[in-house]
Amino acid sequence: MQNPDAIVIGAGIVGACSALSLTNAGLRVLVVDRGSVASGTTGAGEGNILVSDKDPGPELTLALRSRDLWFDLQDDVGDSFELEAKGGVVVARSDDSALMTLADSQRMHGVTAQRVDSHELHSLEPYLHPDLHSGVFYPQDAQCQPMLAAAHILRTVIARGGAVISHAQVKKILSHDGVLHSISTTQGDFRAPIVINAAGTWAGEIAALAGSHLPIAPRKGFILVTEPTQHYIFHKVYDSDYVANVASSDADLQTSTVVEGTRSGTILIGASRERIGFDGSMNYDIVRTLAAQATSLFPVLRDVNLLRVYRGFRPYAPDHLPVVGEDAEIKGLWHSAGHEGAGIGLAPGSAELITQLITGKTTFMDPAAFAPARFARVSI
């Protein structure tokens, strides 16, 4: 594609949503990726679209809007990525006060959070351990198949005049006098006034090519996948440890319980968080811990077989907020990255935000908290 209006670096969920949003705003968009569609973290995701795990604040505001936009996306692109308003059930293992406090504050910011007692909890999830007796139900939590979503969204981009080039690794990002000029890739050079860095866990590397600084680092996670079984789990189910872990900065391994069924009949089990760089090696101790956590919530799972384990690297910014906005120094260079474990959920909202900023429309929320400028190195 010659002279696109915008280039998006990254054909994962964030790049795909950004590309579609800009396309729908009338721009001709070129998407490039060093691999192919969903070859990064999007290919290792569960497909979580959650509001339940977020504290009130900018990220929750983004999540609420983004969650609704997912359903608009389905209307626009088609029902091709298993989007489902499944609902989430957060279970308190012991003391439920922290969970209830969170739920109360979330409720004041637009989240539907229903306290459930033992009876209601076991009506929602009959196979939950009988000793668990308190939780919160979040009907807004939803689910999709992220690789299919990214692929179908990009297909729509192409159908509306955009283009996607796979196996195009960006080698240079050139600017003149603080204004973006062009990019150079292994599949050719492309000039555009706007480039969006949606390279996820590798967004820092892309930023560096432009001479910019984006401290995005990998936060490793494993997911266990079982054999197909009869349906034992009807919502996304987590224990309240999930909330504390997401917001933590500890480098050491952290695990919490996340269990859900899928359409194909398999059960997905997470979640672990480790900051050990891009070390992708297997860790059987973590596998055991995740299995033990899941069976403690759902004893029936003891007889279900683990089939496979996969891992991914969440893109992680030091303050746990995504980076969405124009680069502090280079005009025309935009970033939409660092969504950590919430990339799927936050992608359409981030795309809407960045499109509004680029096209000069009123933004649906104050984007200040996501500004890349917060990481700009202070020049001496």
């Binding site: 690789m147 299919l148 692929a151 297909r155 069976t295 799972l301 077989n305 089939l307």
Partner: protein, 447 residues
């Protein structure tokens, strides 16, 4: 402690070599009885040169230095300081064994290619027909077609015939003249002529009809379509004939099982026939300290080569030098293995045997059309993305049957070759066999 994983020819030869040199050794095997795919027999061993296998099986049963743990399915393994922890399941219960030295001899399984109707009951691998007969005393069917490529088809067909079954025909896709490409290998392995003569006599005795340059390209529960094939496996138009049968036992060589060595980080490479195998030195040492690998996993080569490699691995493991005669035997058998690969190539023509509705991934029921759509509509570029979009390879067998085929179909549609990295990627998996979440929960950490 020395542990051998796999109780087929390579594993048995390694264990016997170790025990004969006075050291204790334990063999872990997933079957109820020793012997692996080649020698797993329920009662008396029959077939060609059965005394050799009988000798190994007897030694394993009687030598007090050899401990045999049967029914053991290894699900994971790790190195913890100076030893290996091997986690395995017996009747679903998890156990762990530690060892200082490891010999991996996990063998191979039949390679399958899809064709119209291959999902139907009645289509199976030659290994399945062999296992039913030799392992369980059961004939696979009343009218059996044996097809595909490779010398393994001969014992399968003659075995069925000898047990009173009807072999409607043996269809070998390649021409036997291909052996002329490897004169040195044949001359250096004179015992193979005797073996050939044995099977020729069996074929004549049971009047088994053998046809070359043909293969089964469709099945319909009560009959199969047999077509003439080019050496590239392309169907010769108009050559299709319908043959009545209730079973098609069809296989296209073997795929080594590299899962455990991969879990332990042993370096792999792609062999000339496109299979993923391990890098080993002339003494069967892998790239990982204290791990030897022998048998099919170092290159498909049959039981003779497996025996030699197993013996070398066992001797080297206990510090005994390899005699020149043993080394030369390995050279001869390796040459023969190379000749095998040259004589029975598998070309790309198989891709046209399937209908759009044919399931390429049997476990998840993913059709050829689904895979093609994932390439043309969704931009799948390799087996991994095709898997993410279609679920091909995500089922119970974790891609053991379909991954290579999906990979090659996708590459064909994209007009490119399957990279070595992709082949290695689809051949490895961190969970070697399914294990219940309960067993995982109850197990101990390695720390």
């Amino acid at each position: 402690m020395i542990l051998v994983i796999g109780g087929g020819p390579a594993g048995l030869a390694a264990a016997v070599a170790i025990a004969r040199n006075g050291q204790e050794v334990t063999i872990l095997d997933s079957a109820p009885r020793a012997g692996g795919q080649y020698w797993r027999h329920r009662t008396r061993v029959d077939g060609y040169k059965s005394e050799k296998s009988a000798m190994y099986l007897q030694e394993v049963a009687q030598n007090p230095l050899i401990h045999f743990i049967s029914g053991a399915n290894v699900w994971s393994a790790s190195r913890v300081k100076d030893r290996f922890a091997i986690n395995y399941l017996v009747s679903g219960n998890e156990l762990t064994i530690t060892a200082q030295k490891l010999i991996l001899a996990t063998g191979a399984f039949d390679r399958s290619l899809p064709f119209a109707g291959w999902e139907l009951p009645g289509v199976m691998t030659p290994g399945a027909a062999q296992s039913l007969l030799k392992g369980h005393g059961v004939l696979a069917g009343r009218r059996v077609i044996v097809a595909g490529t490779g010398p393994f088809l001969l014992p399968v067909a003659t075995g069925i015939a000898a047990a009173g079954g009807t072999v409607v025909g043996l269809y070998e896709a390649q021409s036997p003249l291909r052996w002329a490409l490897s004169p040195v290998a044949l001359l250096l392995n004179p015992s193979k002529f005797a073996e050939l003569l044995y099977y020729a006599k069996q074929v004549r005795k049971y009047r088994i009809r053998i046809q070359f340059g043909k293969g089964v390209t469709a099945f319909d529960t009560h009959s199969a379509v047999v077509s003439r094939l080019s050496s590239d496996l392309e169907v010769v138009a108009g050559s299709e004939e319908k043959i009545e049968c209730d079973v098609v036992a069809v296989g296209w060589g073997f795929t080594p099982d590299v899962t455990l060595g991969g879990i332990l980080g042993c370096a792999q490479k792609v062999d000339l026939d496109g299979t993923v195998i391990f890098n080993v030195d002339q003494n069967q040492r892998s790239s990982q300290k204290d791990i030897w690998i022998a048998g099919e996993a170092t290159g498909i080569g049959g039981s003779d080569l497996a025996l030699v490699e197993g013996e070398i691995a066992g001797l080297d493991c206990v510090g005994i030098g390899i005699s020149p005669s043993l080394a030369f035997r390995k050279i001869r058998k390796t040459l023969f293995a190379r000749a095998l690969q040259k004589s029975y190539p598998v070309g790309n023509g198989w891709k046209k045997w399937s209908r759009n509705t044919t399931k390429i991934c049997r476990c998840e029921e993913v059709s050829l059309q689904d895979i093609a759509d994932s390439v043309t509509d969704l931009g799948a570029f390799d087996s991994r993305t095709a898997k993410l979009f279609t679920r091909a390879g995500m089922g119970l067998c974790q891609g053991r049957i379909c991954s290579r085929n999906v990979s090659e179909i996708v590459a064909g549609l994209q007009g490119c070759q399957v990279s070595d990295n992709e082949r290695i990627g689809y051949s490895n998996r961190p969970i070697a066999t399914p294990i219940s979440l309960g067993e995982l929960s109850d197990g101990k950490s390695t720390k």
